[in-house]
Symmetry: C2
Subunit: 275 residues, 2 copies
C-alpha cells in the first residue's frame, strides 16, 4: 500500500478531542495541518451553526460531515416522530454549517425485534429524504459493530448498509465505512467493492481495536494501537474509487484524559505511519 505522504485527506471528528470546544478544535486542527473536520452535534448546542460553519471555512478546514443523525427505531409512535423531527433539525444544522453530509447511526430498540427496528430505520430515512432534497444534504448510513445491535444500530454489516441503500434507491443515501465496526467481517472486501460500484462509498472512518478492549463504547485505539489492518482496508476503499477524507474518530476515556495537544501530535504521527 502506498504510504500516506501528506495530511491533505486527514479529517478529525470533534468527539476525538472531546475536551476541546469548537473554536479550540478549529484552531488546533488548522495549526497541525489537518484539512477536514467532522462536527458532532453537541459542539453546536446553543450555538449558531451558520457562524461556526463560516469560522470553519475561513480557517481553511473542510466541514466533512455532521455527526450524527439516525436513532429512528422506537417502540412508540411518539418517539419515532420525535426522532424524525430531530433528524430534520440535523438536516437544517448541516445545511447551515455548510457540510454536505450527515452520518447516520441508525438506532435500535432492545424492546423490539431487529426486523422491526430495521423497518423503522427504512421508514425514518424515507420520511426525511424530502428535507434532504430541499437542503441538498446527503445521508451516510454507518453500519455499526454487532456489539451495538441491541441499542445503537440494527444495521451491523456493510452488506446490510448496501442492501438498505439499494432498497431506498435515492441519490442522497450512501454509506460511511468505519474500520472499527467492519474489520472483522469476512465479506468486507467484497462489500467494499460493491459499495464503491454502487456509488455509495461516501465516508471512511479510522481508529483501532485494542486487545483487551475494556469498555464497549469508549476504549477505541489510536491507529496502530490495535489489530486492525488499516492500510489493507484503505487499499480496498481506494480500489473501490473512494477519494474522500480519512476521518479519525476515536472515543477513548484514556485519550480524553491525556493532554490533547500531545494526543493531536500522536494522531498525526499515527496517520503517517499506521494507515
Amino acid at each position: 500500500m502506498t504510504p500516506i505522504r501528506d495530511l491533505s485527506k486527514l479529517c478529525i471528528h470533534t468527539i476525538t478531542t472531546k475536551p476541546w470546544n469548537i473554536e479550540t478544535a478549529i484552531e488546533k486542527y488548522c495549526a497541525a495541518g489537518v484539512n477536514g473536520i467532522t462536527v458532532w452535534r453537541q459542539w453546536l448546542e446553543n450555538r449558531d451553526p451558520y457562524k461556526i460553519g463560516q469560522e470553519i471555512i475561513k480557517s481553511g478546514l473542510t466541514p466533512v460531515s455532521l455527526c450524527r443523525g439516525g436513532f429512528f427505531p422506537a417502540s412508540s409512535l411518539t418517539d419515532r416522530q420525535k426522532a424524525i423531527d430531530d433528524n430534520r433539525r440535523a438536516i437544517d444544522e448541516a445545511a447551515a454549517l455548510g457540510t454536505l453530509m450527515i452520518v447516520l447511526v441508525c438506532g435500535a430498540d432492545p424492546r423490539q425485534s431487529l426486523e422491526e427496528s430495521r423497518r423503522h430505520i427504512f421508514e425514518g430515512i424515507a420520511a426525511v429524504l424530502p428535507d434532504c432534497e430541499d437542503r441538498k444534504i446527503r445521508l451516510a448510513v454507518e453500519p455499526l459493530h454487532p456489539m451495538y445491535a441491541d441499542s445503537r444500530s440494527a444495521i451491523n454489516t456493510l452488506k446490510q448498509a448496501n442492501d438498505l441503500c439499494d432498497d431506498l434507491d435515492h441519490p442522497l443515501v450512501g454509506v460511511a465505512a468505519d474500520v472499527y465496526h467492519l474489520w472483522w467481517d469476512p465479506d468486507l472486501q467484497n462489500e467494499i467493492r460493491r459499495c464503491g460500484e454502487s456509488g455509495y462509498l461516501w465516508a471512511f472512518h479510522i481508529c483501532d481495536w485494542r486487545t483487551p478492549t475494556v469498555d464497549l463504547l469508549n476504549d477505541r485505539g489510536l491507529m496502530g494501537e490495535g489489530c486492525i489492518d488499516i492500510p489493507q482496508i484503505r487499499e480496498w476503499v481506494e480500489q473501490a474509487g473512494f477519494e474522500g477524507f480519512h476521518e479519525v474518530e476515536i472515543f477513548s476515556n484514556r485519550w480524553w484524559q491525556a493532554d490533547q495537544d500531545e494526543f493531536l501530535k500522536a494522531i498525526i504521527q499515527a496517520y503517517r505511519t499506521e494507515c
Copy 2:
C-alpha cells in the same frame, strides 16, 4: 413456539455456577431436575476425569460436552504446537469423562491477520482429528461474537463455522450455536437451516444480551433479561432438526456474586418461561 414443558433437555455449564465445585454442581443440578451438564476443563484440574465422569453418570446427568478446546492460532510455531498438544489432552479428558463432544473456541491472535488465524484454526483441527477418531470424540466449532475477533475466535458467524465444516469435511467436526454470539446476524435463519441440513448442528447454547452490557466477557444475562428472541432461535434450530440439549452458559460477575441456589432456581424459572 411450543412452550417448554419439562426439564428433560435442560443442561447447565459448570461455568454458569462458577462458585460451585464439580461435586456441588452435580448434586445441585440433579436435585433441581436438570438433565445435562457441560463440564469446563477448570473443573477437572488435578482431578481424575474418569472418576468425575462416573459420578456424573451415576447421578443420572448426561455429560453433554467438555468445554473447551481450540485457541489454535499463535504467531509462533511453538505456541501452535502447544495448542495442538493441549487439544489432544482435552480429547483424552473428554473420552475419560464419557462425553462425546468438545466445544471449540477456535482462537485468534491480534498480532496476525484474521486470514492467518483462520488458517491456523483449520490446520489445528485437522492435526487433532486422528486423535478424535481414536477416541470417538466430536469437535463442535462455536462461532464467537465479532467482539471477540481480536483474541478469542476468528470464526465469528455461523456461515464461517458452516464453511469451516465444509472445508474440513470430516464426520467428527460440527457446530455449537450460541444465541449470545449469533442473535444479531441477519443471515442467522438461513445458516441455521444450512447447519442442520449439513448435519453439523450439534449443540445449542442459551443466555441473553443485556442493555447496557458493561463487560465484554462477563456480563451475560439470564434468559429473559435481555433482547435475544430465544424462542424464535430455538424454533429455527428445531426446524433444522436439532433434538439435543439446551445448554445454559452464562458468564456473569453479577450472578456469580449471588446466592447460587437462588440463581439455579432463577435459571429453571427462566428456562420454563423465556425459552
